[in-house]
Amino acid sequence: MSATEKQAKPTVTILGAIAKAYHDALAEDPKVITLGEDLADPEGGGIAKITKGLSTAFGDDRVRSTPISEQAIVGAAIGASLAGYKPVAEIMLMNFTTVCMDMIVNHAAKLRFMSGGQTNVPIVIRTMTGLGFGSGGQHCDYLESWFAHTAGIKVCAASTPEDAYGLLRSAIDDPDPVIFIENLPTYFAPMSFEMPDSSHRVPLGKAAIQREGTDVTVVSYARMANEARQAAAKAADQGISVEMIDLRTIAPWDRETVLASARKTGRVLIVHEAVKQHGVGAEIAAVIGEELFGQLKKPVKRLGGTFSPVPYSRPLESAFAPDAAAILAAITDLAS
C-alpha cells in the first residue's frame, strides 16, 4: 500500500513538478541555462508548455529557442558546460536522439574520461517519449538501454511529481551528463502529492520502494511504474504482497535495493515499455541471476515492448507494451 497515494494531499501533475524544478533551478543558479526547439515564450514555451514563462523570467540569453538542429543543440550544451555552465537541453522526443547520438555518446559521455578528468560535461538532456497517442513508429521509442550501455552518462525517469522534481534538480546539480526521460501520457494526470519545495532532491542512483511486500518484487520505472502500482494494488486484493520498486535512476541502477528485495521475495518481475529484448531488464535479470544463484524461487520474469517498431493502430499500440493487467497476470504467475 502506497502511503503517499492514500493521504489527502494537494493535487499536482508531473508536468507542473518539472516546470517548477526548471524554474527553481534557473532562479537559484545563474549558471543554469536551457535551450531547445520552441522553448522560449515567443514560441509559446514549448509544445507541452513546460518551459512557459522561463524566457520572460530569466531572459532570452539563458532560455533559448533553437533551429531544428539537434546536433547543434547538444553540442552547444556541451560547449557551454565546458565553460562552467549547467545547460539543460531539450531534445523534444527521444527518437530524435538518433540524429545527435554522436554528440551524446562520443562527446558528452566521454569528454571527462578522454581528457583525464580535466573537463566535465554537467548537462541535462530532457527528452520525452512513450506511446499512447497513436504517433507510431518514430515518436515513441524508449531507448534508455542504449545510454545505460554507454559509460559516462546517467539516465533517470520519474513516475511521480515528487520524483520528477527531485530527480530533475539532482540531474541539474550533477557534475556529469544526465538524460532525463519524460513521458507525455503521464504529464497531465493529477496526482495526490505535495508540490515539493525547492530543497527537495532525489539522489541519483537510488531506487524508491513505493510499496513494501514479501511475495514478489516488481522492478519498473517511468509510466510502467504507474501500471505496476495499479497491478500491485490489485494483487494485494488477491492476497499477494508485492514489493514495488521504481528505479528512478535507470543508469546506474540501484543494485543494492533491487538485490535486497529479490533476496527477500525470491520472485522478481521487471517491467519496461522499451522492447523487451536487450532492454534494461536484461542487465537487471542477468545480475540477479548471477548474484542470487540458487536463492530464487522462480526465474526472473521480464515484461517489455514486443519485438517490433511501435505500431500506429490503437489495438496494436495497446498490444505493444505491458499494462496493469499484463503485470498482474505475471505477478500472479510468479506467486503461484
Partner: protein, 329 residues
C-alpha cells in the same frame, strides 16, 4: 532560371485545380472527422499549401518517386494515393495501405511512387537520393522528389543530401515548402541567411525561390527542375513560399501566429483564387467545377465509410513485417 520555357496552359491549370480541390476537401474532412470523434489521429493540416503538390502531381509520372513527411498527405494525394487505403490507414484499419501499422505519419503507396513518409525532420532527403541513384543505374529518366519544411532546411541530413545530389548529379528535386513556421518558431528566427534557396549555390546546384501558391510560377519552376533532372543535369532546390492556415498539428494552440498574418494568408487562399480564375478565364464553368467538387466529396464519403467499416488489425499482426519471416510467437 529566367527563361520560362515551361508554361502551364489551361489544361494544366484545370488539372492542378482538380488536385487542389481534392487536397482541400480531404483536409477539411480530416479535421471534421477528428472533431466528430470518428477517427482519433495525430494530424498535420496542410490547408493553404495545396498548390505545390498539385503542381508536382501534374508534372510527375507514376514511376517518379517521392519521399515526404508527416505534413505530407497533400503531397501523396497529389501523387495519386487512392482514397480508400489512405483513409483506412488513417483509421488504423487492416485494410489501410500499411495495414494500420504506419498511420498518418508513415503512409506508403509504392504503385504511385510514394515510397517513404517520415516523421523525422529532414530524413526524406537522403533517401530520395537513393531512389535517384537507382534511376541512374536503371538508365531511366525518372526523378525523385523529397519534400521538407523550412525548419528542416537547418538539419544536417538535408545538407548532406544536397551535397551528395550535387556531386553525383542525381535527379533529385528538393522541394522545401516554406510555410514560414516550424512548429511555433518563425522562419526568420531560425534561418541564417533568411533564405533557403540561396543555399543551393553553395552546393553548386540551382536554387529557386518561387511563390508556391501561384500555380503558374510553381509549374514553371517545378517543370524546369524535373526537365533538368530527366536530362541528367542534376538536382534543383526549390523553396516554395506558402503558409499553413492552422496550427502545427490538430489541436495545437496557434496563438503564436500573428492574427493579421494569418488573416491575410487565408484571404489569399490559393485554391478559391485558382477556381475563380479558371472561371474568369473560361477554362471551366462554375457548374463544371461544382460537379468536380461534388464528385470529390462523394469519393471521400466512400473512402471514409470504407475505412470505418473495415476491421481492426489483430495483436498477432505485430509478429509480421518486422522481418520478411515472422517473429516467433
Amino acid at each position: 532560371m529566367a527563361d520560362k520555357q515551361f508554361v502551364a496552359d489551361s489544361a494544366v491549370l484545370l488539372d492542378i485545380y482538380k488536385k487542389a480541390a481534392l487536397l482541400k476537401a480531404n483536409d477539411e474532412r480530416a479535421r471534421k472527422v477528428i472533431l466528430s470523434g470518428q477517427i482519433a489521429m495525430v494530424y498535420y493540416s496542410y490547408r493553404g499549401q495545396e498548390i505545390i503538390p498539385s503542381v508536382m502531381g501534374n508534372v510527375l509520372r507514376d514511376d517518379d518517386t517521392i519521399c515526404t513527411i508527416y505534413r505530407g498527405i497533400h503531397d501523396m494525394l497529389g501523387k495519386g494515393f487512392p482514397l480508400r487505403p489512405l483513409w483506412a490507414e488513417l483509421a488504423g484499419r487492416s485494410t489501410g495501405s500499411c495495414k494500420g501499422k504506419g498511420g498518418p505519419m508513415h503512409l506508403t503507396y509504392p504503385p504511385k511512387g510514394i515510397m517513404v513518409t517520415t516523421g523525422i525532420v529532414g530524413s526524406s532527403a537522403p533517401i530520395a537520393n537513393g531512389l535517384s541513384w537507382a534511376a541512374q543505374l536503371d538508365k531511366s529518366d525518372r526523378v525523385s522528389v523529397c519534400t521538407f519544411g523550412d525548419g528542416a532546411s537547418n538539419i544536417g541530413a538535408v545538407h548532406e543530401a544536397m551535397n551528395l545530389a550535387s556531386v553525383w548529379k542525381l535527379p533529385t528535386i528538393f522541394v522545401c515548402q516554406n510555410n514560414l513556421f516550424a512548429e511555433h518558431t518563425t522562419f526568420e528566427k531560425m534561418t541564417g541567411g533568411q533564405n533557403v534557396a540561396s543555399r543551393a549555390e553553395g552546393y553548386g546546384m540551382p536554387g529557386v525561390r518561387v511563390d508556391g501558391n501561384d500555380p503558374e510560377a510553381m509549374y514553371s519552376a517545378f517543370a524546369e527542375a524535373v526537365a533538368r533532372a530527366r536530362a541528367g543535369e542534376g538536382p534543383t532546390l526549390l523553396e516554395c513560399m506558402t503558409f499553413r492556415f492552422f496550427g502545427h498539428n490538430f489541436g495545437d494552440d496557434d496563438s503564436y501566429i500573428p492574427p493579421a498574418q494569418k488573416a491575410a494568408a487565408m484571404e489569399a487562399d490559393p485554391v478559391p483564387h485558382l477556381r475563380a480564375r479558371l472561371i474568369a478565364d473560361r477554362v471551366a464553368t462554375e457548374e463544371e467545377l461544382a460537379a468536380i467538387e461534388a464528385d470529390i466529396e462523394a469519393q471521400i464519403d466512400d473512402a471514409v465509410e470504407f475505412a470505418l467499416a473495415s476491421p481492426w488489425p489483430e495483436p498477432d499482426d505485430l509478429r509480421f513485417d518486422v522481418f520478411e519471416t515472422e517473429i516467433a510467437a
